[in-house]
Symmetry: C2
Subunit: 250 residues, 2 copies
């Protein structure tokens, strides 16, 4: 048996947003590896072994997946959203680079998924319809002052912004600092969108003017979007629609 | 019959990356509206009218779609990639805001798709695995000096970058200026990725050090990715793998 490793994105939650190629890889796999809640989204079946592991062990999980693929197994590493956006793909390549040379001959494919910011944007309109950036607000793997520098420069560039991992129990303070900085440097009432558990039965969407945004509006299941200086709100029959125009005047 | 409007992303090209919810919307539609090559990706069937239009008529196309939905038709506006990323979703909301108040009561949904930068990133590794930005290099709808400002600030923020619409016959000069600016401000040999026609039979992927990047490596079917200052290349058996590490040292 010839082994392979697929690093697949499951999308934000709904089965209707899992691509056919990811479904096909899961159907052919002998082993699925990932963080507990993501592995829980994969249906059990005979011949498939599920390997669920806790958060913050990404490199161990990646090495385990590579070892199994080298042993001839058909391994899918699952991430929520897209595996290349603050998820497992970089961890697998880090482990690959640090590991035995033989791993570099493995059949490795990355299969994209619908990332949380784009699923959230779709649910509220088109807030990322102009130039934008994506910033991970966790300071587990980078210094906080780099996050602040990026927020300032992103505001100066007038990017719309998407924030992943805004707040966790282990990091209760960061998001409040980020909000205070953005409220100060943006200096306007552009809309901020708190999209929690997007596309799942627990989904909530909340749009607030930036000055009214509060840290406790976000948790680790929330992706936060922020418009740019031109972002507009249309009041529809069933709630607000938020979009960023394609044009900027000269 | 109760009409609706769906703004759907077809992904970058391969049918295996079209989500089930987009497939379902197309199966229920009476009308599909979009740019000629994207409408050509939708299979004809009895009861479905295809409305293909040329480029640069996005607002007319959007208004036409809204009118048909208001008339009780089930309309899908199709974009390549994700409709919220430099595509039709913003145009539809612009037309909605400028149109009759009755349009605001329409049933409108945006269905995300795999956007080109994430499909391209997946094909080469994980170059967008850390904070990143997405910039449309067309100056049809914004002044060129704003593009240059954003490139400078994005480099200062050490974002990985994705560039949409890098070059067209109508805009042959811009991408060369953007490359020269990036070569100057980045000042290193970080990898640039030219991903053309990703996931289609015509796909080509090319990785070059930034100083060796040339304007004619891109056309309008190309999405261009640029690593940040820490992006790494692993030489694999079948070609290079490019990834941006998750961590930055304090």
């Amino acid at each position: 048996m010839s082994g392979w490793l697929v690093i697949a994105g499951l999308g934000p939650g709904a089965q209707a947003q899992v691509t056919p190629e990811v479904q096909a890889a899961l159907a052919e796999a002998t082993d699925v590896v990932g963080y507990i809640p993501y592995v829980a989204r994969v249906a059990e079946r005979p011949g498939l072994t599920l390997h669920a592991s806790d958060n913050r062990v990404e490199l161990d999980r990646a090495a385990h997946a590579l070892e199994m693929a080298a042993d001839g197994r058909r391994v899918v590493v699952v991430s929520s959203g897209d595996p290349g956006v603050f998820a497992m793909a970089s961890a697998v390549f880090e482990a690959l680079e640090a590991g035995p040379a033989a791993w570099r001959t493995l059949d490795i494919r990355v299969l994209p998924g619908i990332t949380a910011m784009l699923a959230a944007a779709a649910r509220i309109g088109a807030p990322l319809g102009h130039d934008f950036c994506a910033i991970n607000l966790s300071d587990n793997l980078k210094p906080w002052n780099l996050i602040e520098k990026r927020l300032r420069l992103a505001a100066e560039a007038d990017f719309a912004m998407a924030f992943y991992n805004p707040r966790s129990k282990a990091r209760p303070e960061g998001f409040g600092k980020a909000l205070a900085l953005l409220q100060d440097v943006c200096g306007d009432a552009r809309p901020m969108i708190f999209a929690r558990a997007v596309t799942t039965p627990e989904e909530t969407m909340r749009v607030v003017p930036l000055p009214e945004a509060q840290p406790d509006m976000a948790d680790m299941r929330t992706v936060v979007l922020l418009g740019n200086s031109t972002t507009r709100i249309i009041e529809g029959a069933t709630g607000p629609m938020v979009y960023t125009p394609r044009s900027v005047q000269a």
